[in-house]
Assembly symmetry: C2
Homo-oligomer: 155 residues x 2
């Protein structure tokens, strides 16, 4: 399959998303020329705010391959990823993102990621969503347990 | 339950995460003084790069309450959220984040979110993870379908 065919599949999934009562977003994860994961937006039907197409496709690829690590994979998404999805793609160690719609088009139909991009870039004390620190010493105990653990699997 | 009790529960979950072979992170979602969702890091055991404690707790809260919208909820997390989790918290419409460990402590035990924070803040053409645009016109067709749909549920 070609680059265009992978994107065409992501776009087809974005239409499926609309038909299923979700948002108009689809994505596929490709490695070595083969689709290893697919997803469409399922936020409203699945009652899950994290069920963006990219997250769904990454989770599908990880379930199919049996690993949280998708190194070398390319994700084709019908729209530029939001910060949540970009973070998920980063954690999954994908090598490239290919996207169709841009954030401007998304904002034009009511999905405005600009505020989240701005929010993530702000220092903690300037955020719109307030953050407050509590019980730092107690919280550190689990970090110490992790640091001391001999048989851990880092990721 | 008090503020401190909610954070203590998040910290207890972070210890559970280590014991279960995951990372040392836990979180609870609270609304109207009651815990409505809990999560611990499950990336390695669950083979899911999106299974951070905050995402798990948000998904649990949404499953329990039957809604993708957690407006008014507070999330207590044993560590400052990464950009993926901050995005998820934003999409879930939480009102506040209370955290224990900071990003510096996380980096100190090998979980360095700084690169992701920098990445998300960069313009597309300056990203470390390459993004490429393809088939924008075709991709827009699903956005048009969404815009034209009379019975859609925006979120």
């Amino acid at each position: 399959m070609s680059d265009a065919a992978f994107m065409a599949r992501a776009i087809a999934l974005s239409h499926d998303g609309v038909a299923a009562g979700g948002g108009p977003f689809g994505a596929v994860v490709v490695r070595n020329g083969v689709i290893i994961g697919e997803g469409r937006n399922n936020v409203v039907p699945g009652r899950d705010p994290t069920a963006h197409a990219e997250v769904m496709a990454l989770r599908d690829a990880c379930a199919r391959t049996g690993s949280h690590d998708l190194s070398g994979a390319v994700i084709y998404t019908s729209c530029e990823p939001c910060p949540m999805c970009l973070g998920a793609i980063w954690w999954a160690r994908c090598a490239e993102v290919v996207y169709g719609n841009g954030r401007a088009e998304a904002a034009g139909i009511g999905f405005d990621d600009a505020a989240i991009y701005e929010e993530v870039a702000r220092p903690i004390d300037s955020r719109a969503l307030p953050l407050r620190r509590l019980m730092a010493a107690e919280a550190f105990s689990a970090f110490q347990a992790w640091a001391d653990k001999a048989d851990k699997t880092p990721y």
